[in-house]
Symmetry: C2
Amino acid sequence: MKTLLQVDFPFNGPFGQEMVEAMKELAESIAREPGLIWKIWTENPETCEAGGIYLFEDDVSARTYLELHTARLKSFGVPVVNAKMFQVNDVLSAIDRGPVA
Amino acid sequence: MKTLLQVDFPFNGPFGQEMVEAMKELAESIAREPGLIWKIWTENPETCEAGGIYLFEDDVSARTYLELHTARLKSFGVPVVNAKMFQVNDVLSAIDRGPVA
């Protein structure tokens, strides 16, 4: 069953184009993670937060990725990682054009 | 600038198909909200949580919707609504097949 992983954390930048330059190789590596359907990269310079919304093929691949990514973020100096895992309600999402099919 | 709205809250159900039946009309109404590009409906019966990931055309439509939706959830008896707004990093999201274009 498809699993949505919601991650956010305190982050002091870089944001925007500088974030692209700093994180491009990481994004290329994440694209190859087993079970990943997609990731949306999120950022908020005003609140000093960043994160990601991920869709995985199943619960196990989401959980495995989250362990890896949490350790990586902590190695970057991120003090706390907020993460929640959800199932997707496909029928309601389809009514609202949600890109999960 | 496109804005991602991340919402979650404590929820005791209904989940799955029963949630579809209870929330179908609400989903149809949300589909018509100004500025909404899409919503993914999220649910987790194990942790007793639900929520949504939304993409809006801009910050103002996301903020307006969040005020409306928070009031609605509270009228349903939801005790607390966790919400965060983010910008989307389009370049990094494109590398990871993120559906934000």
